[in-house]
């Protein structure tokens, strides 16, 4: 403003240069991190263009022929694709409907436990499975549900025939949902419990004065206070809707349950990585990411109408 001839751009540029000179160490520090994100996040993201190619490993990304939308046209006429998409969407839906509310419910139940010692002890037990790998949990699930496992021992004790749960299609999806709740429900409560502990206690005092019992307090104070947290976690969940977690399904899947349990990630691994169908499986992977993003976008818009969205 003092020198009328100076353009707007120049001071900004100067600001950056001076800043870089003064704080060059910060720029040096972050370099490895930026390289990491470019190499392992952005390059693979860009590499998704092979979905529009007939990618041949010998020719590489630069010399493989372009085929436009052929790969996408192919997957939409492809029996396996519908199978895998259906499995993925159904399991994702069950997980969302049953698995998402589970830690909220559990956190509310923990909140009613008044004895600190008991609360801490119970919580420790609930957190434990989060730290086990899916290979271990898969091993446990197979063992517990085996013909000699203790679920069948219990059935035998009641006079029923044993059931081979892991080999039967109709049990696969429930097992996936239940095992993921078993593993993560306790861990999932942490963030809700933090939000609950942040609620102003005077609100509860006022409610008690008005004659509200525990139930009314939960409905009218705790739950509304949790709502923003629930909303944000829900949106984060929706963004990864179709990403169920390779480790879990891979470790519970057997050839006998492929028809109901083979999901996009396990299919892409088998046909893409193992059998070299790079372009087609990338198209499937890209399709999965795009669906995730569209869902996120829709739900974010809906969320903004009720409160805060992610962006």
């Amino acid at each position: 403003m003092l020198h009328p001839g100076v353009t707007v751009n120049k001071p900004v540029k100067h600001r950056y240069l001076r800043n870089i000179r003064k704080h060059w160490m910060l720029y040096v520090m972050i370099l490895p991190g930026i390289l990491f994100y470019i190499i392992f996040k952005y390059i693979p993201l860009g590499g998704s263009v092979i979905a529009f190619q007939n990618f041949q490993i010998m020719k590489g990304i630069w010399n493989s022929p372009w085929v436009g939308l052929d790969n996408f046209k192919f997957i939409f006429t492809y029996q396996d694709f519908y199978h895998v998409l259906r499995n993925t969407a159904l399991i994702a839906l069950y997980k969302l409907v049953i698995g998402f509310p589970a830690p909220i419910l559990l956190a509310l139940m923990f909140n009613e436990v008044r004895k600190m010692l008991a609360k801490r002890f119970l919580q420790s037990l609930f957190y434990l499975p989060h730290f086990l790998s899916w290979v271990v949990v898969g091993g446990i699930v197979f063992e517990v549900l085996a013909s000699g496992g203790f679920v069948n021992a219990f059935r035998g004790w009641l006079g029923f025939e044993p059931i081979l749960y892991m080999q039967q299609e109709r049990f696969f999806r429930p097992i996936i949902v239940l095992s993921s709740i078993w593993k993560e429900v306790g861990w999932g409560t942490i963030i809700y419990l933090a939000a609950i502990s942040g609620i102003d206690p005077t609100q509860y005092e006022a409610a008690v004065m008005d004659g509200a019992g525990r139930w009314k307090q939960t409905i009218y104070i705790t739950l509304p206070a949790l709502f923003p947290t629930i909303l944000i976690l829900f949106l984060l969940n929706i963004g990864n809707f179709l990403e169920l977690g390779f480790d879990q399904v891979y470790n519970l899947l057997t050839p006998m349950t492929y028809s109901v349990g083979d999901i996009i990630e396990t299919y892409v691994y088998r046909s893409g990585v193992l059998q070299g169908q790079y372009s087609v499986t990338t198209a499937i992977g890209l399709f999965q990411s795009i669906i995730g993003f569209i869902l996120l976008w829709i739900f974010n818009r809906l969320a903004k109408k009720t409160g805060e969205g992610l962006w």
């Binding site: 996040k41 609930f126 790998s133 290979v135």
Partner: protein
């Protein structure tokens, strides 16, 4: 406070449910432990519940003498230690500039990072990138491609931002440069969050599976989880002796149980000591911006 009958009933039901559910978290592990210490006959005839029947250490002896298992154990210990150290270094160095007002590209870089959380690269291009970098069949493929966990990095950044600004103003007047501010002022004040994030990384490395499935073809390099998976799916590998010829005091049931525990014992052992850290740490990293 007065309680009416309904609330008392709820209290009781709540305790009963939570206790029962909490025990299902630990029962399968106790059951496996009992099975691993039982005779093969008892293990297969559903006699074992939480107490070993026909007590024997044979399964444990067998797997503890298996050189393949120890080799994988060594790989896992190596990637856990080296990986956690590398991850912490990369994450701290990334989180610190992102927590500073003086770093003018803060917003742009953060946006670039958040985008990678929303748009995950599909598996195949990721696989091909790592392969092009020559990391196939090398332990680097377990260490480098996931060296920064974005969520962990954000926890560190949130913590750094919560430290009082006056700290580094004084340090700067005393002539400290950014590296010294980070290493001599910020990091010593961040011990609890550093411990938490290290724990998250360490557990991640200990449980590494998908990257090993993708990138390691040579069984000699397999980390413990891969080895365990191989043993669980083809138990013959577990007992290379022909069990039907000799009268061994173990079988695949008891061996599997012992192996599953072998792969989780270290985590179960350190878990109670670390609990206070991770609960605190996850709260630090919760959704505040």
């Amino acid at each position: 406070m007065k309680q009416n009958l309904g609330e008392k009933g709820f209290q009781v039901a709540n305790y009963v449910f939570l206790t029962a559910a909490a025990f299902t978290m630990i029962l399968p592990l106790l059951h496996l432990f009992a099975v691993s210490l039982s005779s093969p006959v008892a293990a297969d005839s559903k006699e074992v519940f939480l107490w070993p029947v026909g007590f024997t250490l044979a399964s444990w002896k067998h797997i503890l003498q298996s050189s393949g298992l120890w080799q994988s154990f060594g790989v896992t210990v190596f990637i856990t230690v080296a990986g956690t150290a590398l991850s912490m270094l990369f994450s701290v160095l990334t989180a610190f500039p992102l927590s500073r007002r003086e770093f003018l590209l803060r917003k742009q870089v953060m946006l670039g990072i958040v985008i990678t959380m929303i748009f995950n690269a599909p598996m195949i291009p990721f696989f091909l990138t790592v392969r092009e970098l020559g990391m196939m069949n090398s332990l680097w493929s377990l260490l480098i491609p996931g060296v920064i966990g974005t969520f962990n990095m954000v926890i560190l950044r949130t913590f750094f931002m919560s430290l009082p600004k006056e700290l580094d103003d004084t340090a700067r007047i005393d002539g400290c440069h950014d590296f010294r501010i980070l290493f001599q002022i910020y990091l010593p004040l961040s011990k609890p969050v550093l411990a938490t994030v290290s724990l998250f990384y360490a557990v991640g490395y200990w449980n590494t599976f998908q990257r090993a499935v993708l990138f390691l073809r040579d069984p000699g390099l397999w980390p413990l989880q891969m080895k365990l998976r191989a043993y669980l799916t083809s138990p013959e590998e577990l007992a290379q002796v022909n069990m039907f010829l000799g009268d061994y005091n173990f079988n695949t049931t008891t061996l599997k149980a012992a192996t599953i525990l072998f792969a989780s014992v270290p985590i179960i052992m350190v878990y109670p000591y670390l609990q206070k850290y991770f609960v605190k740490g996850s709260l630090l990293g919760s959704l505040k911006e």
